[in-house]
């Protein structure tokens, strides 16, 4: 999927290889940042992303796998686990509206 309006996002999935380490860390941060929004933030292995994910965040090294696993979700790749602008853009879009586009990685 190519894009979605941030206000329509109900579920954000942070994915990493095992779904146990870095994704849990980033999901915790996002949950705090999105606390006031009607959004569920979950973490999963990149090979087990649930079908109802609106937006999937994962490192750009894993976006190819994320896109083949979750063709119906907007996949946003980031490069830094702390303070990545791509992640910040998704947070802003979910909080105040604006488009979230499929981007990053291959």
């Amino acid at each position: 999927m190519t894009g979605i309006d941030g206000r329509n996002v109900r579920k954000v999935v942070v994915a990493c290889d095992a779904g146990m380490g870095s994704s849990v860390m980033l999901a915790g941060q996002l949950r705090r940042q999105l606390g006031s929004c009607p959004v569920v933030v979950e973490h999963h292995p990149v090979g087990a992303i649930p079908a109802d994910a609106d937006v999937v965040l994962c490192h750009t090294a894993l976006t190819a796998r994320a896109r083949s696993r979750a063709p119906g979700s907007v996949v946003v790749g980031f490069r830094l686990f702390l303070g990545d602008p791509a992640v910040a853009r998704v947070v802003t879009a979910v909080r105040t509206g604006g488009r979230v586009d499929d981007a990053g990685g291959s």
Binding site: C16, D17, A18, M20, G21, S22, M25, P45, V46, G47, H59, T60, A61, L62, A64, R65, S68, R79, L80, F81, L82, G83, P85, G105, S106
Partner: protein, 364 residues
């Protein structure tokens, strides 16, 4: 900050990388959900075996059945679940029992084959039967198809899969022994460190090194294989090099990343810093190799997989007497990786920042 990023690799490359990652992800995915059981086994082993902190014969009887039966069965169960849900998990566990009985060493690779394979067979059987079952007979058919598939798989495990996987496990163990005997183990860093930053860290550690290491540790009480991929030193050295000599825009994020990597054990956090400047993989290789040399010289090893690769997991998993060697290997790896990393970052800046935008050997 975007200009600090290295460009994405070519698409064909990514396709291959994704395939390797996916295969490795399957292997690691069977082990990682069960890490707590490995830790429990490691703690019991470190405490109660004759060389342990609190030798206790009565409690040491836990060690063997846990590593020879419970851990492989958990892997087979999880592998089956990945293929075919709860039903797949059950037949995967049954099939794994067929593989582990009669084996001298823990049959992790056998479990990784038998679990998913049996679940896949059941999936095929289920696909063939569900359409044809008369109303009211679903439970009977479901229970007996799974029971029969599981029984057959367990028999096949004893007669065929077990012996084959035993040969494979023995060959892999002998290969590692040869590497250690000929002092070639440090060269493993040449493979491990580049593969790590391409997010193959779990595949390598939990898919390959961990199972081999548990087999060794079950015999000798420790294994150096647990230390190869999990050493937090190389990553710490690179992060410290960034803190001192990296691009100024990135430095503020480094202290938090350092704590998460070294104390929290989430190594993924430093991969982006290497991917941004791929030549830094040289620092990781040098640090990793130097760490392995130190581990070998000091005879260091851990009882079980330190997962996550945090310094705390290292200390908790060190058998009695191994702490100095384990710590020395971490310190040396950190120092070497920091020195080489600082050099590479310093040189990169002298050449202008174009170095930072080039992809190098790390993409292979």
């Amino acid at each position: 900050m975007a200009e600090l990023y290295a460009p994405a690799p070519a698409a064909g490359d990514a396709g291959f990388k994704a395939r390797v990652q996916r295969f490795g992800g399957h292997l690691a995915g069977m082990v990682m959900p069960n890490i707590a059981a490995f830790i429990a086994w490691g703690l019991i082993t470190a405490l109660f075996i004759p060389d342990g902190w609190l030798p206790n014969e009565q409690l040491a009887v836990l060690v063997d059945p846990t590593v020879h039966v419970l851990l492989p069965v958990l892997i087979g169960y999880t592998g089956g679940r990945m293929v075919h849900g709860q039903r797949g998990a059950v037949v995967g566990a049954v099939a794994t029992v067929g593989v582990v009985v009669g084996a001298d060493s823990p049959m992790f690779f056998g479990a990784m084959v038998a679990g998913p394979l049996t679940a896949y067979l059941l999936k095929l059987v289920d696909r063939a039967t569900t359409e044809r079952v008369r109303p009211g007979f679903e439970m009977l058919i479901d229970n007996f198809t799974a029971g029969i598939v599981g029984a057959l798989a367990a028999i096949a495990g004893v007669l065929a899969i077990g012996p084959v996987m035993r040969v494979f496990t023995d060959a892999a163990g002998a290969g590692v022994d040869a590497l250690i005997r000929h002092d070639l183990l440090p060269a493993a860093a040449l493979l491990i460190e580049p593969a790590k930053v391409l997010f193959l860290n779990n595949a390598i550690n939990h898919g390959v090194l961990g199972p081999l290491g548990v087999a060794e540790s079950a015999e000798t009480g420790r294994s150096i294989l647990f230390l190869l991929e999990t050493n937090p030193g190389p990553g710490l050295g690179i992060l410290l090099a960034y803190l001192c000599f990296g691009p100024r825009a990135l430095r503020p994020s480094v202290p938090a990343a350092t704590a998460i990597q070294f104390l929290g054990g989430i190594h993924e956090i430093y991969f982006p810093y290497v991917l941004m400047k791929p030549s830094l993989v040289g620092a990781a290789i040098a640090g990793g190799g130097a760490g392995i040399v130190t581990f070998m010289v000091t005879g260091a090893g851990l009882v079980a997989t330190p997962s996550p690769g945090s310094i705390f997991a290292y200390l908790a998993n060190s058998p009695r007497g191994a702490h100095p060697g384990v710590l020395a290997g971490v310190v040396v790896a950190t120092g070497v990786s920091f020195a080489v990393g600082s050099l590479l970052l310093g040189l990169g800046r002298r050449d202008g920042d174009e170095d930072a935008g080039r992809t190098g050997g790390a993409e292979r």
